[in-house]
Each structure stands twice: as C-alpha cells, then as structure tokens.
Symmetry: C2
Subunit: 400 residues, 2 copies
C-alpha cells in the first residue's frame, strides 16, 4: 500500500479494448489500497498521424504550433482512459500536462521539466481519485504548451514519482522486463529481476529500447525505484534501482547495435592539435562520436578510426574531406557494436578475455574494442552480429 | 481598416486544401490593414469521431471527461490553420479557449461564457499577429476544460467581437448569406443584403440553420455587427444588425420546419386550471410547446391542440394519457410549419391575408395559425410544405 505511478505507452492504449485492459490493471492496483497516478502517451499512431497532417500543410511549421498540435494526442488518450476507469466503477479524473502542474522551459518539441506544481495532483489523490495524467507535455512561462521530446512520457512518469516521492514507478511496455539479450533472437535469454540505474543506462544507449535514457537518469538522480513490465501480461518485471542483486551472473546482458558507421582516417599528418580539430569540427555539426581508436603509422603519420551513428557516417566523411587534404578517409556502414554490461565486471578481470574467447571460437574478427567500468563493447562485421550475441550470451549466462 | 473577427466552421477546415483556402481568406483580410482574430471549429467529422471513440468505451461517460476529450478537436484545427497562415508568410499564433481567456461556468458540455480575459488576445494583436482561437471551448474556475454546446464556435466569435469591440464579426459558412427561402428548393430565392437581429432569430428558430441563436442573441445584446458569408466564394454576404433596410420587400423570408408534431386533446372536461396542469406537466418533462390552439366544444368540454418537436409528440401523448381519463388524445406527425418573417409586417395589415390567399389558391388547407410581431406561421400537411413555401414566396418576393 502506497503511492504507485504507472506509465503506459501508445501501443498499450491503441484501441478501445487495450484502453479497457489498462483500466483493469490500474483499478487492480487501486483495489489493493494504493493511490494510483497513471501517465499515458497518445494512442498508437496518433502522433504520427498528426505530424502527417501538419506536413501536408507546412513541413517547416513553427515548433510552438507543432507542440500545440501534438498535445491533442494525449488529451484524447487520457480522457478515454478516464472514461474506461469510470465504467469499471472507480473515481477518476484526467489531467493535461499543465493541469498536473508540469512547468517546462520554452524549448518547443524538446522541453525540459523545470518543476511540477503538485497541488492539483495532491488534491485529487486526497479525494481518492485515480489520476490520469497526459505524458510528454507541459506548459512554459508564457502559458504555451510544450512537449518533452522522444520518450517524454517515461520522463513525465518518473518526474511525478520523484515529486510526490512515490513508492514505485511502473513502466508498462510490450516486453515483460529487461532481458540478458533480445529474447526473440537469443535462446535462453533471461529476464532480470533487478538491474542498477547505470547498467540500465548502458543497455538503453546500446540499443535495448526499453526505457528512455532521460527518465533513467532522472530516476537515478531522485532515487525513484522503477519497474519495467508488460501491459499484456502484468507479472512482476524488472526492478531498476541503485544497488541490484547479481543473481549468479557476471553480466546483466548482451546487446547489439547496428546503427553504427566506422570512419577511418588513414595516413593523417601527425601535427599537434590535429585530433582536437577533427573532433571539434564534428561536434560543431552535432555529430556524436562514440568509440575512438588511434594508431601510429610510419613517417610521422597516424590512423584515427571512430564510430558514429549510421546516418552521420557519410556526413562526417564529407566534412573531413573538406578539412583534410592528403589523407584517405573511408566509411564502413556494414558494422555492428556488440556489448556486455554488468556492474560486477570491474572486479572480475577475466570478463574481457572470456568475451574475446567466445568471439574467437565463433571465428568473428574484432575491429575495435572499447571498455568502461560496467561495459565492454566490440565493433565487428554487421553480418556476424547475431552470431556474436548468441556466442557471448552462451559464454556468460548460465543455462537453466 | 479595423479589427475583424472571422469564424470558420468544421466543413471549412475539413482537409488540408480547405485549411489553405481559409488561410488565404484570413491573410487577404490582414493584408488590407486589418487586425484579424480567427475562430475555428474542429475539422469536419472530428467531433463525431471522438464521440464515437468515447461511446465505444463508456456511453455514459462523465461530461467533464467528454469536454476534455472534445477540446482536442479544435486544438488540432487551430494549430493546422496557424501552420497554413505561417506558410503564406504571415505572423500568426494559435490560442486554445483558455489561452484566449474564455472563462465559463461549470456546466460541462453546455457551459456559458462568464467573461473573456482579453490581455493575451490584446498582446498578440499588439504584436501584429493574426490570432487563431479555438471556438466552442473555455475553462471553469477549477481549471478544467468546458465546451459551449452546439453552435458554440459562433458564440465564441461573437463573444470575442463584443469583448474587443471589433468592427465586424464574419461568420463563414457553406452558403453565401441569408436567403428569402432555401435556394435549392425555391426558384428566385434572394440573398438578403441586411436583416435585423430579431428577424435572424425568428429565421434561425424556424429552421434556417445558418446562425446559432445564442450567438445572435449575444450579438444583439452587445451590438456586434454580424456578416454571414461563404468560405468557398467570399463575396459580400448578409449583414445582421439592429436596423436593416427593407429592400422593397414586405418580408425577409419564407421558411419551412418539418420537425413538428400536432397533438390534439379532444372532449376535455373544462374544469378550472386544466390547461395549466397539462402544460406544466409537459414543461416538467422538458417538452417545449410551440403553438397552442383552444376551441370550445359542447356540454362543458373543449379541444386543445398544440405543436411540439416531432420526437416529443408520442412522449406527450403518453404523459397526457396517464393524466387525463375520459378524453381522446391523438398525435399527427405528418405536418409542417411554414412561416414568413419580416420586421415590417406589423405596419402592413394585409400581410396575413396575402399569405392565406396564396395558400388557398394552391389548395392548401391551414390547420393552425400563429402570429407574432415579425412572424406568421401556419401548420399544414407535411406533403404540401414545399408547394406552400413556393406559393408564399412567389406572392411576397418580387421577381427580378
């Protein structure tokens, strides 16, 4: 018994039947004696449909007007969910982002929450209402509507949980939790009972699209205990918290990221500051560089190899060709990044070699390596990515 | 040059092409040096679609949640229209009902405007922005969204024009103005240049669905000059004002209303207060009685005949059967009401007889007659309604 914040994404409320399903999950939680605040996204394809309507009229529309438009999406889903909960006989009220007190800055389409004025939320909870809140949206100091950007509803839910010191923030998705690898592709992939915020952040960055990073960062900052679980099969999912039990596993999971391009600068004249110039140029064009490898060549030249998002690969090559005259620049988009994540690995020196051994035995060539305290990543040929994940997973995750 | 309020209904903004058409009308007005505030309804069938979504989930949903849901409709249309105006290169901003300052009472789904806090509207006009305002909606003292009920966008437009003392309020529809009769049915039906508020109110009540009555009443109260004109062919329409020129016509128009049922109570015992009891019973069930006719019979009995809306006919009969024992009650729904409206008729005593003569010559039997200062109505057989309108129109409206 306590205060539970529950968040449901667009696919969970895509039609009348699913809205009723969510209403049952919410009221089951309420019936157990909990106060419940529910955060919902726009239904299914609503946001995409609205964007299409806008593009038909003005593809370069002011972001303020786009936000005004898109906020209608959650407005529809919250009132429908409230009606569904009402039909089950429970007291309920829906609140738009601004009604729930979400104050943001004025960066339309990607606003940051400044604070939540919680008086309305608290008043509705005091009246024992189930409160349905529009995710993804808020209001700025000019009384204009703003949206929080991609994954914004997760952030809305965590922000409410933090502001009201909720006992738990449950993020309902279409998977049953966080797995050691993609369960559709890897036999014996296991659902984790617990995972730390930092591990979750690494997994999210590495392509396990379960939770939005901003929301995990916020949960970490305010100590909000998250649970990732399925709206279609609401059994216990994965808890995300500060310290998590390791469950006899050295690592938490194996991930694959195919959105990678490998850019190589060969025979670069090794003059002082040349690396700085290259990477500040890329940064100035908002190109995020992930792994960097530098090797010394002969005759005062060196090679620099780095990875960027796939779409930024050709852009980076063009930028660098304009800047660097007498070196060869090539881009390989047929690569993938395979990573293992786990907070325990830094105290187990054999982790990296165990991963490399698994890849070697599968005859997979490693092109780059990058390590952090809780992560080891390798860049390999894209075609070998699935085999690599299976081999590494088998080496680390015990069979049942 | 001045301040013009323009209102466009749902069919005028039903798709991208029509939204662009409205944007051109608005910016043409702005280009002539006017300040422009545009009030829009939800696109085409949006409101009906949202109601259907709600009914699928909960046909008896709380009206507060219905209003929360329906307000999304105009939110979509205002932002799209703002984008369209922006694409033509004009400064523009969209405002939701509450952003535009519409404060209402708390009668969800049928709220009344209490006042408009005009500071935001005035600030945007001062910045030379075209302001696009969501019609039909406002906010109550609890910061909850409300809607104004049927025809609410007309009311929103007139309320803004009244609050800001606009020079004119233009109501764009799919007809080119107010006609002396339905131009699709009556040859030689003429568009009126001017009409008084009172005449417009009678015409609206009588079934000429051009302007919502509440908005005409408000325009009359605050002296807002209205113009009814077409969004597809924006030539001068019909002006609605306090005093209107008569244009050589004795009447303003001929209308037909088929939504009529004639209820007859025959052989009613003529005891004191019986008529009062009958009509207070009907009023208590919210049945509006229009025309009443009473005739004295023999042996201390009388007959009472009255008209109500068609759907209320059988309801009234059932109510009265429960209440009155020994009289015969019949309901005839195969009737229609044909009326002539014109502020000048009270100073022309021959008007009524001219109308009756036209009907007599067409061999149409009159069942009931009702007159007011600016209106004469007759109840006739429904099958004769179109012939009656043509005959009366021909008698009163001069040929070109």
């Amino acid at each position: 018994m306590g205060l539970i914040v529950q968040k449901f994404g667009g696919s969970s409320v895509a039609n009348a039947e699913r809205v009723m399903n969510v209403a049952r999950i919410v009221t089951d939680t309420y019936k157990k004696g909990n106060d419940v605040i529910v955060v919902v996204s726009a239904q299914g394809d609503t946001t995409d449909d609205l964007i299409e309507k806008a593009n038909e009229i003005n593809p370069k529309a002011a972001k303020r007007e786009m936000d005004q438009l898109l906020c209608a999406g959650e407005q529809i889903s919250i009132s429908l969910l409230a009606m569904a909960i009402e039909s089950l006989g429970f007291p309920v009220i829906s609140l738009l982002g601004w009604q729930a007190g979400f104050n943001t800055n004025s960066i339309y389409s990607n606003a940051r929450i400044k604070n939540i004025k919680t008086n309305r939320l608290q008043a509705e909870i005091a009246k024992h209402n189930i409160v349905v809140v529009a995710g993804f949206q808020g209001i700025n100091r000019y009384d204009d509507l703003t949206t929080l950007g991609r994954g914004g509803s997760d952030t809305s839910a965590v922000a409410i949980a933090a502001a009201l010191k909720a006992d738990r923030c449950q993020i309902f998705t279409d998977v049953e939790g966080v797995y050691t690898a993609d369960p559709r592709k890897v036999d014996n992939a296991k659902k984790l009972k617990e995972i730390t915020y930092d591990e979750m952040l690494e997994l999210a960055t590495l392509g396990a699209q379960v939770l939005n990073n901003r929301s995990v960062e916020m949960a970490k900052k305010y100590g909000v205990e998250l649970e990732v679980l399925s709206s279609l099969n609401p059994i216990p999912g994965t808890i995300v918290k500060e310290v998590a039990k390791m469950e006899k596993m050295l690592i938490r999971g194996v991930t694959k990221d195919k959105d990678v391009a490998l850019v190589s600068i060969l025979n670069l004249q090794d003059t002082p500051g040349v690396a700085f110039k290259i990477f500040s140029k890329l940064a100035s064009k908002n190109i995020n560089v992930d792994i960097i490898l530098q090797s010394f060549g002969r005759d005062g030249t060196k090679d620099i190899v780095f990875t960027v998002n796939k779409e930024n690969g050709p852009v980076a090559v063009e930028l660098l060709n304009d800047m660097l005259d007498d070196c060869k620049i090539v881009c390989n988009t047929e690569v993938a990044k395979v990573s293992i994540v786990g907070a325990g690995m830094e105290s187990h020196p054999g982790t990296a070699s165990k991963m490399f051994e698994a890849l070697y035995e599968s005859n997979i060539n490693i092109q780059m390596i990058s390590t952090s305290e809780i992560k080891i990543s390798v860049v390999i040929d894209a075609e070998a990515a699935d085999r690599a994940v299976s081999a590494v997973h088998k080496a680390f995750i015990p069979n049942d």
